[in-house]
């Protein structure tokens, strides 16, 4: 069954195998969703993507925004205007949106507003593993935290209701292991959207000049008190089983705890916290006081642990609280059944039944001979050509700040064209900083979607402060890394409407860049010439390296029955110089001991290797040899 159908059909009681993220999308629709906004980012992307797929059948408005801050403003305003709204982002997206987030709580909302933050313990696909539970605390914003896809759906609905009850936004925090777990999810009834948008003026609430902010802050503090009362009674904060040992946990860790207790044959009462902000203080105090000892099992920061200690101190409860502070668990990386088993066993001074050390030894032994398989740029990826050209044009004598997208994979050999990376859009700002202090070419790379996300202010800064940065916009006409979402340059909206795309070159010229050139990276010599020109240009320069994503292009050709003509190496002509392998390193290039070869199944037919081959040994496969 099609995901659009699963999300929008009103079939309560029906069970489907859903990704945690799809379950959240369904939950929002069941709650009568009216507007959703997002900027894609793993592990959150499939929430927006499934809402995008179902937008024709659905009764809501959906948009991919330029960045998370805009998405927060879009959804926040809609909720102020009485429309149930959802805004979705990955954990670091909330950093981008934090300016809006930190004041949205002061004004509150009229209809429900749910903010999804998908955290990534273990950095599966992120530049850091920050713990966004602290954002709930920082922003005095209620937070729910599901442990599995079913709960993710139910909590999304609950979050909307909670948000409306207190007229405050609610954070729904998920982690990779919830977002990307697929499990059977039982559907519930779909509520009809209210469809009663209405902007009721109330400037002394909604216009946060200092005098209003000062009035709103105590109101916010009062709301947190009310939310604490709700948390005390919340069915999401539940105690399972009995025992003199207490375990406090939340999210996916709950599953690991249950499994560990069974394996270790330990009886314990488990306090599963589903509402992680504000915490049910009294209930926690009562729980801790009634136990001989308490173990706290949570990923990343000792958030629950520190609160448990502070709450206990207030009531002079002396129950030992064991967790990260004694080193039983680490605040680095995600938890696993093994880590939880080991931590609990250690805290209780028990033996662990499985011999993990023996497994480790075996594992390392078997790994020695298994070559690694890191993710790489696809065969025929235009980014590879661009970075080859930048490296050749500048003789690798520059510094090469990079940005967030597939092209970050140019960090790997043989390209090794990534020197500095902070966050989305950072390559232009970091390029400015480097040009200010270094006397060498600074060539920053940024993707098309990232350029719109947060690259433009950096570019304005370069012009304004006269930094002679050289910015290569690697434009593959999609947000490839997160699953090929559209962006402002493509003109396709979240409602599936094709509008006019925004031209990167016009933006660059518009902000005052004097040198703007569009290249086709698959034409190597011309591109190298253009990059050299840009580097020797006196002032900031922008090169737009434009060629569609190889995956999208391959799919298009297949769809339109356009042939893909792969290349081949003529072994008689090949001198074995390995330029195609050691300088370009296309995923389709193979070394056969004496000469190079090309995997014709993988080859996209881009022809870049043929152009750089010093012996002209690479050519298109002859028609009669084509399969």
């Amino acid at each position: 069954m099609d995901i659009a159908e699963i999300l929008t059909k009103d079939e309560p009681g029906k069970r489907h195998l859903l990704l945690g993220n799809e379950a959240i999308a369904r939950g929002a629709i069941e709650a009568g969703l009216e507007l959703a906004s997002t900027y894609p980012g793993t592990p959150s992307s499939e929430i927006g993507d499934s809402l995008f797929r179902a937008v024709k059948q659905g009764k809501y408005f959906f948009e991919y925004c330029t960045n998370e801050k805009v998405a927060m403003e879009v959804a926040g305003a809609a909720a102020v205007a009485n429309a149930r709204s959802l805004v979705i982002m990955k954990h670091v997206g909330l950093n981008v949106a934090s300016d809006a987030f930190m004041t949205l709580n002061y004004i509150g909302v009229r209809a429900g507003l749910v903010i999804v933050s998908a955290d990534d313990p273990g950095c599966w696909s992120s530049q850091n593993e920050q713990d966004n539970r602290l954002y709930a605390m920082l922003g005095d914003t209620m937070m729910l935290e599901p442990a599995d896809p079913q709960e993710a759906k139910e909590m999304t609905i609950a979050a909307f209701d909670l948000s409306e009850e207190l007229e405050q936004p609610v954070l729904l925090r998920v982690t990779t292991r919830v977002s990307h777990t697929r499990a059977g999810v039982e559907l519930g009834p779909i509520r009809e959207p209210r469809n009663n948008p209405n902007f009721e003026r109330d400037p002394f609430r909604f216009v946060t000049v200092p005098s209003v902010a000062r009035i709103r802050h105590p109101i916010l503090v009062e709301k947190v008190k009310q939310a604490t009362e709700l948390s005390e009674k919340s069915e999401w904060n539940r105690i399972y089983d009995k025992g003199r040992l207490g375990i406090i946990t939340s999210g996916v860790s709950f599953n690991y705890v249950m499994e560990a207790l069974e394996a270790l044959q330990i009886k314990a009462a488990i306090f599963k916290i589903g509402m992680t902000y504000p915490l049910p203080k009294k209930k926690l105090q009562k729980f801790i006081a009634s136990k001989e000892q308490v173990i706290v099992v949570e990923e990343l920061k000792p958030y629950l642990e520190n609160h448990a200690r502070a709450f206990s101190q207030e009531e002079s409860i002396i129950t030992p609280i064991l967790g990260k502070s004694q080193g039983y668990f680490s605040e680095i990386g995600e938890l696993s059944p093994r880590k939880v088993m080991e931590g609990i066993a250690q805290a209780l001074g028990k033996e662990i039944p499985p011999d993990f050390r023996a497994i480790d030894e075996k594992f390392s032994e078997d790994l020695v001979e298994s070559p690694p398989r890191p993710p790489i740029l696809c065969a025929g990826c235009p980014h590879r050509a661009t970075f080859y050209e930048v490296a050749t044009a500048t003789g690798r004598k520059g510094v090469y700040p990079t940005d967030i997208g597939c092209y970050t994979l140019a960090i790997q050999p043989p390209l090794e064209m990534a020197d500095l990376l902070l966050c989305m859009g950072s390559s232009i700002g970091t390029s400015c900083g480097l040009t200010a202090v270094l006397d060498k070419p600074i060539i920053g790379a940024i993707g098309d979607s990232t350029f719109f996300h947060s690259g433009i202010p950096g570019l304005v800064n370069a012009v304004y402060n006269q930094h002679p940065v050289k910015i290569i916009v690697v434009d593959n006409h999609t947000t490839a890394m997160t699953g090929h979402q559209p962006h402002p340059g493509t003109g396709i909206t979240g409602m599936g409407v094709k509008g006019q795309g925004i031209s990167i070159e016009e933006v660059a010229r518009g902000v005052g860049i004097q040198f703007v050139k569009v290249i086709n990276p698959l034409k190597v010599k011309e591109s190298i010439r253009a990059i050299r020109e840009a580097v020797s240009f006196d002032g900031p320069a922008v090169i737009i390296s434009r060629s569609p994503c190889a995956l999208v292009e391959r799919a298009r050709k297949r769809r339109e029955n356009e042939p893909i003509i792969p290349y081949e190496v003529n072994p008689e002509v090949c001198q074995g110089c390995r330029v195609c392998i050691d300088k370009l390193g296309c995923a389709a290039a193979i070394w056969e001991g004496e000469h190079a070869a090309i995997d014709s199944d993988l080859c996209s037919g881009c022809g870049v290797c043929a152009e750089i081959c010093p012996y002209k040994a690479i050519r298109e496969i002859e028609i009669n040899e084509r399969v």
Binding site: L17, D148, E259, S336, M341, P372, C378
Partner: protein, 215 residues
């Protein structure tokens, strides 16, 4: 974690499966790993089980190592299989099977491995060597109670398209008949695939037979 990780025969007709029953799939991005795990879990859910799949992706489209954990249970279970606790390993690629097998197999588990290699970049470029297939097989054997090997790519080609290798492997999984879900359930799921419908059905049967003739 139960010490016995393999379905225990109780008498002649009744088999009790461990709960949760853990299957791990190891492969390379683009091999259809995610699709196969969904198919197996779908069959389990249709049968009335609760199933959870834990996936590592992100690297999926870019040729990196990909692993899926499938857990079939009567209760709610977490998405990750504890180390050493897979009942079955479905290996789509030899060294990926070895990599994952070393962490998740145990002396009572069973592995089904496609021995058709996909060479990592550094092997293709001549910087590293791919271990000999015999060596991989020897090591895999030491990690489990029984190893079934097949060339699923060749069988997929026989079925009509090398891309349906994953369906051959699901067929092989049905062929060993060690799961709480039976061949028919998986066959029904395969029948739901719209793209390359007949090729997939043929591939599934080739997978089943490849194992049955091996048993």
């Amino acid at each position: 974690m139960s010490s016995q990780c393999y379905p225990r025969s109780l008498g002649v007709s009744k088999i009790i499966y461990d709960d949760p029953f853990n299957i791990v799939i190891a492969g390379v991005g683009g091999q259809g790993n995610v699709l196969s795990s969904r198919l197996i879990a779908d069959a389990a859910i249709t049968k009335g089980f609760i199933a959870a799949i834990g996936e590592t992706y992100g690297a999926a489209q870019r040729g990196g190592s990909v692993m899926s954990h499938i857990r079939i249970s009567k209760h709610d279970v977490g998405p990750l299989i504890p180390l050493h606790s897979a009942h079955l390993l479905l290996g789509f690629e030899p060294i990926e099977a070895l990599r994952v097998g070393a962490r998740y197999l145990n002396p009572s588990s069973v592995a089904i491995v496609n021995m058709h290699p996909v060479y990592p970049v550094e092997v293709l470029t001549g910087q590293l060597k791919y271990p000999s297939i015999d060596e991989v097989e020897r090591r895999l054997k030491t990690l489990c109670s029984r190893l079934f090997t097949l060339d699923a790519v060749e069988l997929a080609e026989q079925a009509g398209n090398p891309l349906v290798m994953n369906t051959v492997m699901v067929g092989a999984l049905a062929g060993v008949d060690l799961m709480p879900i039976k061949t028919l359930m998986l066959e029904k799921e395969i029948a739901k695939i719209r793209r390359l419908k007949e090729v997939n059905q043929k591939a599934f049967n080739l997978g089943v037979n490849a194992i049955k003739t091996n048993l």
